[in-house]
Structures are given as structure tokens and as C-alpha cells.
Amino acid sequence: MQESQHGVELIRVSREYTRGGEGVKVFDDVDLSVKPGAFCAMMGPSGSGKSTLLNLVGGLDRPDSGDVIVGDTLLSELGESDLAEWRSENVGFVFQGFNLVPVLTAYENVELPLLLTGLSKAERKEHALHALELVGMGDRAKHRPGQLSGGQEQRVAIARAIASDPGVILADEPTGDLDFESACQVLDLLGRLHTELGKTILMVTHDPRAAERAERVIHLDKGRINESPAAPDDGFREVKPKEGEGA
């Protein structure tokens, strides 16, 4: 296994949204550090900032202040197009609603991120089919999302996330829309990505059973980050609590 070089670091990050004309502080001066190759679950009530945290790490959102560092890249230094390019090379997304493009086949969906690489058509095909094989969807390559079950769609989405071999996988409630069996398959897959391919995985989930698959569980609540008391000692650096809050 070759471990990902992509650790994640949030340094004094603050983020506030405006809703209904009022400012809602999601994070206030938060620090977080995730080692390369870690499998980290994030739990917390709705609105606690789980998805916002994923968006910040994935470069889909920017903090009001503070720094987000993924691997050795300080995201705030990147412009929009550089950030898009960085995302294509370093981050794979898995969404709760799968978000496959409905007019494309499973194979074409997986090929999408590869179009941004310099790979030839034959190489793209090889990579995309390999990714589909890896998630057990090789025989469904020509099926469109509408012809697949939810679990199968999510496996294709995972294949798309890993097709370009990114260092970090960001999964936003990947089992949220799945039945128990499909959820287990997806979690098994994410576990394999972590153990066999050494990907750094940040997974948002409401499901404690899903969180159990992770090495480390982070609880978010009201802009604060707390380690799970049951989290194993996986060598992650300690989360630095906010001053005066004793996270």
C-alpha cells in the first residue's frame, strides 16, 4: 500500500453564512489536523458544519479567515481556475445523492474527471474500467444511472472519485440514501480505499455504524470540533481546541 501524501490541516478557520439576513457562524477559529492516509468520520447534528468542513477541504468553499492546507497546498493561494485544476488532481467527491450525470453511462461518468488529465483515450478507458472493476461495477459500464440501483450508483460514484487517483476522498453522507446492505458495500469499499490504496478519507455521516468503520471520529457541534472519546489512537495529531472552549 502506498499511503497518500495528502494530510489535511485547518488553521484558525472561521466561516460564517448569511441566512435570512442574519449571519450564522459555522466555524469560529477552528483548528483540525488529519494525517495523510487517515480514515476520518465526522458526525454531528444538522447545521453543525460537517458539509461545510468537507467543502472547505475540497476547495468548494473558502474560509472567511484562516488557512486550509491539503497536502502541501495552501488553498487560499489558489485562484478559481487553479483551484478547479487542483481539485481535479487531488480530490475525489462522493455525494449522498450520488450526483452521477444521468445522460452518461457508468463508464462515461467515471471517465469525466479523466478528461481533465493528459491521458489518451485508450488510457482513459483503461483507468475508467479499472476503477469500475475495483468497485465491482465492471459489468455495468454501459448502464446509465437510471438503470442502476442506489447502491450501484454510489459505487459508480466512488469509481469516479478514485478514477484520477486523487490523494483525498471526501464523502458526504455516502450511505445516507442507501439500504443497509448497499450501505455496507459502500463502507466496505471506502474501507478498502483506505487500507489498500492508502487514501485519506473524510466522511460525513449521521450513522454511528458507518462512523465505526473510521479510525477516528470527529464530532462537530455549534462550530466546535470534539474528538470522539472512543476514537482509537491512530496517531492523528490532537485537535487544537478553541481558546477558552476546551474542546
Binding site: 475540497g58 468548494l60 478559481e80 478547479a84 485544476e85 488532481e89 450526483n99 452518461l104 481533465l116 469516479r160
Partner: protein, 390 residues
């Protein structure tokens, strides 16, 4: 870079909707081409008129004839190279429904005055030297199956023969007006002398004098300058004249058909606005449906311009296909259209003057309809796009 298959498949996401929109574009652009061809046809006699010719008519009205003696006086004006009588004959072939234009002219001068007219059958000499001979435009010859040597009976309405018989003309040539914008391919030209002789012999009645004089200018003389000279020559009568550049003279006939260009233009504008809104509606719906796809593409690393082109390309393809089909249909129907409307709209054709604005309009419709959703797609953040309820 946007995958082409993504553009294509999104375009065909709702086949019926796209088909209906493309069909509307086809009908609209077919109509626009035909309407524009009608306007161009009306206009071409004005725009392409010779800068070297004047038309001298009565200052009172086009329907008042000028004295025959004026021709010699006009020829004394400096800058006048040649003159030719032209008198409206007003007859029909066998049935009143077979009406077309006939002019009594100076047969020996027509070749000089209208130097671009080409005889595709017969000869100028035969026409000049035979008193009963005539030249017939190719369209009229085709319509009635006439050829050189045929004797054609024409019933005169302005100059009826008093014995109730028909005028007889021998076809000496069939002409193609070619680049001569002031002449169509429908008219008959015959000897003014033939008409004069009949009048002198008391075989016919009708107004004395000449309808108009066509005046060819020498090189280096302006229409305005020579025209003013001619007008001043007859300022004190017996009958004042009005010298008009040929283009302006032709324009009088366009204005005589009333507001046809305005009417046709208004219909065209209405059609255009309707199709513009229909296409915009289709593209806005498509844009809305593809919001999530745009979010996914951006999350995967495609930039805003990829999202922009994803939507705009669909609009360009849709309009290109719909409008293109309409334009090709108009090109295909050009022949039948000429057959049906050619007598009222001489020179009617789907040419560059028709095609260029149609293509420009198609691009404008595509841009207008595609820009709004394309700009929205470019502006949307991943988070906004993925959160949007479709």
C-alpha cells in the same frame, strides 16, 4: 473542455421538446428567408439601378405623356449620350388574365441604353430592322411557350385597334435582363414606330406623346447635374418635366405597392420575436435541468468556462439545426416560389442578401437564448448548483 457527448446527450434529454423547438425555428427561418427575399426583390430595382441613366417624365404625373419633340431637345443637353422613348402599351395575351408589361420604344437604341441586356435567342439586328418585331423576356417566353419567329397576338387596352382585332408582333429575340436591375425578364419591347404608324393611320386610339424618355449620360456627367439641365430646359413649357435618377424612378414603383416592405418586415419581426422567446424558454428549462450536472462538473475540476460552453453549445446546435433546416428549405423552394410569385416580384431569389441576414439572425437567436443559462452556469458555485432543487 466540455465532452461533446455530454453536450449532445443533454440537448436530446427531452427529444420532443427539442424537436418542437427546432421545428419552430425551421418554420420561422423558412418564413424569414421568403419574406426577406420578397423585400430584396422589391428593393433590388432601386439599389442596382444604373447611375448613368435618367428617366424624364411629366412633372405633372407619370400618366401624362410628353411631347415627341422633347426627345430632340433633350439630346442637345450637354452630358446626354442617348435617349429612348418608352410608352406603356398596356395589353394582354388572349385573355385579360394574361397581362404583362409591354413598352413601345426606339428599337434601334435599346441595345445602347440597356447594354447589359443579353439576347439568349434571336438577334438585335432582326429586332431593329423589322417593324413588327419585338423582344420578350425569358420568363414570359417560357410561360407562354414562345420562341423566336412566333407571331404573338396582343390585345391593346390603352391602344385598342379600332377594328377590334389584335395587335400582331413577331418575336425577334428573347432576352435575359441579367445585371440590368431596371428591367425584369417579363416584359415585351416593340417598335414605337409601329404604334405611331397605326395611330397615324387611324387604326387605333390612345394618348399621343411619349410616356417617359430614358436618358443615357456620357461618362463623367452626374445624374443630378444633367437632370437639372433637362428640367430647366422645359421650365416654361409647354409641359414641365421631371428628370429622375433611374433608382429614384424605380423607387416610385416600390412605394406604389404601398407599405409592403413595412408590412413584410413587421411580420418577419413578429416571427423572429416569437421564436426568440420560444428558444429562450427551451434553453432556460434546459439550463435549470442541468444545474446539478454543472455542479458535478465543477466539483470534478471543470472550470466555469466549461459550464458556460456546455449550455451555449446546446443553444448554438439547436438554432443551427432548426434555422439551417429552414434556410435549406427556403433554398429548395426557390424555383417554385419564382414560378408562383415571379411576376409580382421579379428577380425573387434566395441569394446572399437573404441568406446573410438569416444566418446572422440565427446566431443572434442562439446567443440570446443560450447566454442567460450559460452565464448562470458559469457563475454558479458547486455548492449552489448541487443544492438547487431541479
Amino acid at each position: 473542455m466540455v465532452p461533446l457527448k455530454l453536450i449532445w446527450r443533454n440537448l436530446l434529454r427531452h427529444k420532443l421538446r427539442v424537436l418542437l423547438t427546432a421545428g419552430s425555428l425551421t418554420v420561422a427561418f423558412f418564413l424569414l428567408c421568403v419574406l426577406q427575399a420578397l423585400v430584396v426583390s422589391l428593393d433590388q430595382g432601386v439599389k442596382n439601378a444604373s447611375k448613368k441613366r435618367l428617366v424624364v417624365q411629366s412633372a405633372v404625373s407619370l400618366f401624362v405623356n410628353l411631347p415627341i419633340s422633347y426627345q430632340g431637345k433633350i439630346e442637345t443637353v450637354e452630358g446626354v449620350d442617348e435617349t429612348m422613348k418608352m410608352t406603356w402599351f398596356g395589353g394582354y395575351y388572349r385573355e385579360p388574365a394574361n397581362m404583362f408589361a409591354q413598352f413601345a420604344i426606339d428599337a434601334d437604341r435599346m441595345e445602347t441604353i440597356y447594354s447589359n441586356v443579353e439576347l439568349i435567342e434571336g438577334s438585335w439586328d432582326e429586332f431593329k430592322n423589322t417593324r413588327m418585331s419585338c423582344l420578350v423576356g425569358k420568363e414570359t417566353a417560357n410561360k407562354y411557350g414562345w420562341s423566336v419567329g412566333d407571331r404573338v397576338p396582343i390585345v391593346g387596352m390603352i391602344y385598342p385597334r379600332l377594328d377590334g382585332s389584335e395587335w400582331q408582333f413577331d418575336i425577334a429575340g428573347i432576352y435575359d435582363a441579367g445585371a440590368e436591375a431596371s428591367i425584369d425578364d417579363l416584359t415585351m419591347y416593340f417598335h414605337w414606330d409601329y404604334l405611331e404608324e397605326a395611330m397615324e393611320a387611324g387604326a387605333t386610339t390612345g394618348a399621343d406623346g411619349i410616356g417617359v424618355y430614358s436618358v443615357l449620360l456620357s461618362d463623367g456627367y452626374s445624374q443630378a447635374g444633367v437632370g437639372a439641365e433637362i428640367d430647366s430646359l422645359f421650365e416654361n413649357g409647354p409641359q414641365r418635366v421631371q428628370s429622375t435618377p433611374e433608382g429614384e424612378f424605380n423607387a416610385q414603383f416600390v412605394s406604389m405597392v404601398g407599405n409592403v416592405p413595412f408590412f413584410v418586415g413587421t411580420i418577419g419581426m413578429g416571427v423572429l420575436i416569437a421564436i426568440l422567446l420560444a428558444t429562450l424558454n427551451t434553453m432556460l428549462m434546459s439550463g435549470r435541468e442541468q444545474t446539478r450536472d454543472v455542479g458535478v462538473l465543477k466539483a470534478l475540476g471543470f472550470d466555469g468556462s466549461a459550464a458556460f460552453w456546455l449550455l451555449l453549445s446546446q443553444s448554438l446546435i439547436l438554432c443551427g439545426f432548426g434555422a439551417g433546416t429552414g434556410i435549406f428549405l427556403a433554398l429548395g423552394i426557390e424555383g417554385p416560389l419564382q414560378a408562383v410569385l415571379g411576376s409580382n416580384f421579379p428577380g425573387l431569389q434566395i441569394n446572399r442578401e437573404v441568406l446573410t441576414p438569416a444566418i446572422i439572425l440565427a446566431i443572434c437567436v442562439a446567443l440570446f437564448a443560450g447566454l442567460a443559462p450559460a452565464l448562470r452556469a458559469r457563475r454558479l458555485t458547486v455548492i449552489e448548483a448541487l443544492r438547487e432543487e431541479v
